[in-house]
Assembly symmetry: D3
Homo-oligomer: 182 residues x 6
């Protein structure tokens, strides 16, 4: 049960994501691109639809957990900024993960931190939904930028690392849909 002071601190902390642009778009010449906060909202929304789909296909998912996980999945970037994927070696990822966990421990509640850790590990169905939604939101946003004529994004669509579907059927189908549209 958060105190009022903890709530204000946590909200101001997460809100820092509203000031931080997604670096990958900047590097491809997209001006005034989405913030990490805007990306996070999209991830939560995609995730909510993946949950609907999984349930319709007979897979049980903890929907509240998925949505709470979405909210904090990029919280560490409020400390580090958005470091583009191609720059991250395996060694760097490990070092980064450890540094981030320490930093987050100072600002998130224990329950929120546990969700962030579970998402990083990627083992549960809820974490896999977020991992898929994270990539799906990115590819849909790339489609939007292409349709609006903003930036040089061809190379982007070639990267297989940008199309992870984590064995979720709807995710795979969405990538096919996007290929059709651009």
């Amino acid at each position: 049960m958060p105190t009022p002071s903890e709530l204000v601190d946590a909200v101001q902390f997460l809100d820092r994501l509203a000031s931080l642009p997604r670096t990958g778009w900047l590097l491809r010449g997209v001006t005034d691109p989405e913030s990490i906060a805007e990306h996070t909202l999209g991830v939560a929304f995609v995730a909510s639809m993946l949950v609907d789909d999984l349930r319709a296909r007979g897979t049980a998912v903890d929907g509240e957990k998925v949505l709470r996980m979405a909210l904090v999945h990029d919280a560490a970037e409020a400390f580090t900024g958005d470091i583009p994927m191609p720059a991250k070696t395996q060694e760097l990822k490990s070092a980064l993960g450890r540094a981030e966990e320490t930093l987050l421990a100072g600002v998130l509640t224990e329950a929120q931190l546990a969700l962030w850790r579970e998402c990083e590990e990627g083992a549960t169905i809820e974490a896999r939904v977020i991992k898929a939604a994270d990539k799906m939101q990115m590819v849909i946003k790339a489609l939007t930028y292409v349709q609006q004529g903003r930036g040089s994004l061809d190379e982007f669509f070639r990267g297989p690392a940008n199309r992870k579907h984590m064995d979720l059927d709807l995710a795979r189908e969405v990538y096919e849909e996007i290929e059709k549209r651009r």
Copy 2:
């Protein structure tokens, strides 16, 4: 169960909120203020903490419903932009509500539209959580802008309409906390 095509459409639709600034901040001289999407993320995060608090105090809340409601509570603004509260007469609110519902019916799933409608009506505990979170996020953001020296926000804090707590204890305590900090 959404089709891939419906998912892409819905995500691109909601993502329009990332291009739309919150008008109230613009009118008070805050440059490059948060988008509606960034506000929406904050509302979802505040709401998740209100749910924790309500449960700790013994009130049952449907957490997944609250979070799904947060995601779509401002979806109609993707059609209308953000119309500042002081401009809205009761007659205008009614006309707006009817226009919005028709527009949203074309882009949201039935379940999402039902959540939006429930939120507008404000009767259930889940809707009351979102109504409170909506104001709380705004007042915390105002505090942030004041601390950063951006814009003329004194008048803002005087408006009682900006401090609705909907009988939620934590909401009321958070407003007291904010008064202490500024």
Copy 3:
């Protein structure tokens, strides 16, 4: 005869239009689009050329009235922001008109308010010039954005509501010219 204090208030009020972007462009992916104030200036300039044309064709127009009307024709948006046309039902337009008139009565002089009302009603030749100039400026700006490769504006040119000429010959000819250029 305005007092110095009224003049400063009125100028600061109208200047709020410089902080408010035109929502229609934002929704079509145009980044950092023109403000309402920049649109207003363009409307006044187009209107001045329509007046020249009407006079050359033998129609009497009150040029000073046209230009004063241009300055205030979007003044109500300093309260409401720019609400996109497709969102406006007839019921919404009526409710909005009534709310706007009340709000403007608090900040404009009586003479300015009368001009705003006359423009809304659209009956006089001066009001028809502004209505035509309002659309012409928008379509010329769309052409500029297309030529600069900013945003997705094809759908925009298809909307007949965007090509009102109010029976003014030059307006109709300008739309033909624009079709040739894009």
Copy 4:
């Protein structure tokens, strides 16, 4: 009587002022300041109120001419950008004036160019109204920025060159009003 093609060219030309920021604000640390187009709109509005005042005091003014002059008074900056006043020596002003007149002759109608020239010369009552409105808009905007906490503008208010009133009573009274408010 402008051809449709001339109208489109002229409107696109003047609209370049919407892309050009006022340099003086940039140099004082105001981020995302008004464009020249937004300034121009403010000048036209101030000028319309000076006309009301002059008439009320018994001075005849050609109101249509004043407003048309306002629209084009900074048109040359669409070629040169906004060069700050302190940088302009007398020699530079003369050279600039000659270069501007040649450039404008290629894009404005003869009547518009004549108004621009009359404004530069500053001899008629209509030109004096624009000169006063030009400074008044600037000082009122500075007041707005001060009230919003944007930029370092103290030095700005000390410059007597920023408070020209051209013997217009209302202009002088407005400066006094502004001094009271900041």
Copy 5:
């Protein structure tokens, strides 16, 4: 040997270039274009590579002088803003040069001012390197904007004044390379 106070003043002065956009890009519809400071950095970097090339071809160049000259070559624009080339008549250039020298004398050290003057005169090999680098950076930036789909830059590449190579072989070869790429 600069005093601490002189150093802070000089750095704050040159840093004004970070607030001033390059006007030529604005006029061609490039939104949020590079600042003069960003251009200056690019000029310094190009110049360092021209020095390498000249030395490899057997021409002696004072590399430190070239780089110091690059840093201050556009310093005068901190007073005047960036005035686009097409607007500059010969008379205007002379008047501008004289005004700029007087203004810079108040903020640069004597050695820095001497470098700025030598660059303006364009006689030494170091000055010619900067003149070539100035154009090369601009044309490479135009290529970048074209590749990113920002603005209307075709006309830009047609202007021979934008391709000065000052008899430097590498400069000429770079223009050929750029023609190949776009």
Copy 6:
């Protein structure tokens, strides 16, 4: 001796720093803060004045090397974005350094890479000049933002890590000067 193609690639690569904001300012609420490129230019300029000072005090420095080092000292951020200092553990710094060196090897010339590496190691007088200039530019910029009323920077000035002077007398004196001014 760079080929034309290598020069264009290298310049476009370094120019990515013009699209990347300095994360530390964003996190403190500074809107539209300087880019890494603008910071880099400031570092080069400060470094040139430190060289003057060292020479006047009798210390030999390779001025061309210092300036070339300044140009590339933050080049790796074109891959990673600007990661704020407080987020960097010692382990993260090592992992980052290794990843960056590999990435830079693909885009910089060998000589440029050697300078970047020498700067990272920080052993030579030239590298120490850049390290000091890096902090001095940052603190002077913070002073500028404070004077302009942008952001919450008090905490910033308290951090001793932000005032490294590397045993350079002028650096230490400049920090004293800045304390006097704010």
